[in-house]
Symmetry: C2
Subunit: 272 residues, 2 copies
């Protein structure tokens, strides 16, 4: 694959070997949001390194990222450590460094999602929303949001009109934002992309009437199936904003109606 044909996402998470358990990458300007680099993209970069470490277990099954300091565009080094290599699962850590400072520490268990093609007895059902062509594209987002969020140009994100009142000064107060997601350049979803998607929507605090960015403390994603090609539907919700923190639960469904990822993060509430 040449760089010219690589998708923006594959360029964004590209890594070169730089010694045992070391990988060199470059955080692109195009993945910025609110002055830092999007936390989902960072998790996908670290997750990519761990995927290269265990080729027999290429897919994150559960991955937890603890965010330490704000990442900036530019070179990045990922250092990995294998904790345990098992028959069906392997566990490892990854740390992301810039200019001698650690940005993100990751702990994760990997496997092969194709080996998880077992019985499905889920009681969860995909949430309802209007089709993508009746949802609100990013081109309608407030200008100050777009200016602070270069990464929105990488996305074809269509938000459910029922959950975008905050964009016109009328947040619902429910603490829920949902929409359709795909990458703008048509790159189809895969497990690493789901790490990005888990942190791709605007913070649910927008819908509580709290503008401003919400730094992630911790984000854990469970990958529950390999996603099919096509649109993903994503819902973010919170139930407990308290003491300066809130949780944000995300669920990601693929085009076949399969629940492919579940995530939860703890974030600092905007001071706004």
């Amino acid at each position: 694959m040449t760089t010219a044909t690589r998708s923006e996402f594959d360029q964004g998470i590209a890594l070169s070997p730089a010694g045992p358990g070391r990988y060199a990458g470059e955080l692109g300007e195009g993945w910025q949001i609110g002055g830092g680099v999007n936390g989902g993209l960072l998790l996908a970069v670290a997750g990519h390194a761990l995927s290269l470490e265990h080729p027999e277990h290429p897919d994150p099954v559960s991955i937890s990222g603890y965010y330490l300091s704000a990442s900036v565009p530019g070179p990045v080094e990922v250092r990995t450590e294998t904790v345990r290599r098992g028959r069906s699962l392997s566990t490892g850590t990854a740390s992301l460094h810039q200019d001698g400072e650690e940005r993100l520490r990751v702990l994760a268990t990997y496997g092969d999602l194709d080996a998880q093609a077992g019985e499905v007895r889920t009681s969860a059902v995909p949430f309802e929303m209007p089709p993508p062509e009746e949802c609100i594209g990013v081109e309608h987002a407030p200008k100050q949001l777009i200016e602070q969020a270069a990464l929105l140009e990488r996305f074809d994100l269509r938000l459910d009109p029922a959950t975008v009142g905050w964009a016109v000064g009328a947040p619902s107060g429910n603490g829920c934002i949902q929409g359709w997601f795909r990458l703008a350049d048509g790159r189809e979803p895969d497990p690493l992309q789901l790490l990005l998607v888990a942190d791709a929507l605007p913070p649910v605090t927008f819908d509580l009437g709290l503008p401003g960015w919400a730094p992630t403390i911790e984000l854990t994603v469970h990958l529950r199936a390999r996603p099919a090609a096509g649109w993903l539907r994503v819902r973010h919700a919170t139930r407990n904003l308290a003491g300066g923190y809130f949780e944000e639960d995300a669920e990601v469904w693929d085009s076949t109606g399969r629940l492919v990822a579940q995530s939860r993060q703890l974030a600092r509430a905007p001071r706004g």
Copy 2:
């Protein structure tokens, strides 16, 4: 405090310094379940070590445990590493070893829950259930459950009659178990105890008609407030049993009606 007056839980998580970043403990026979040591107790042991490492940040705010191999009663060593020491939060790792084998790797961010006494705008409401005296005590649990779960004797656990049909061969199929929790010896709740509580109820898969133990792959707990004295109410639920895994979300409310902990785990579904 002398050992004689120590609670069972404080004895269970007791640690002695064993060099820089090293602590020695003992996993008691009384915390066993299904042949291993309860995963919540293990998380509390590792969490205790990290609490000792950062006295200015004594409370877990977010803690993620990745379970590597089954723990057994006997000596245990906890090794800690400080990842970042910040003004309001510190991040560290802990690993739990027995006989040269790693049992559990933990990544966590600590702070001071008393400093989090800010605004509460939660939309979550405590779930309803009958009072403890109308709920089902462990003394009514099936004998084979008690025999495999010595730790149940440490608990005063009263399950909501609406969610214990599985104990008499009539699981509801909803994937939900809830009840009142306190320690049998009256030791009042604190943040470390909430790590135990997050994994204290029978697996929700019992309520799906799947008996058998469900090994935890990963468990993350968010501590949202310091719990008040008295009964805790705990609910475990799952929505997505698929491909041999399921998630188990827990919420823990204190006696003042505050949501004090939220957790999610990924576990292997029982083969049953």
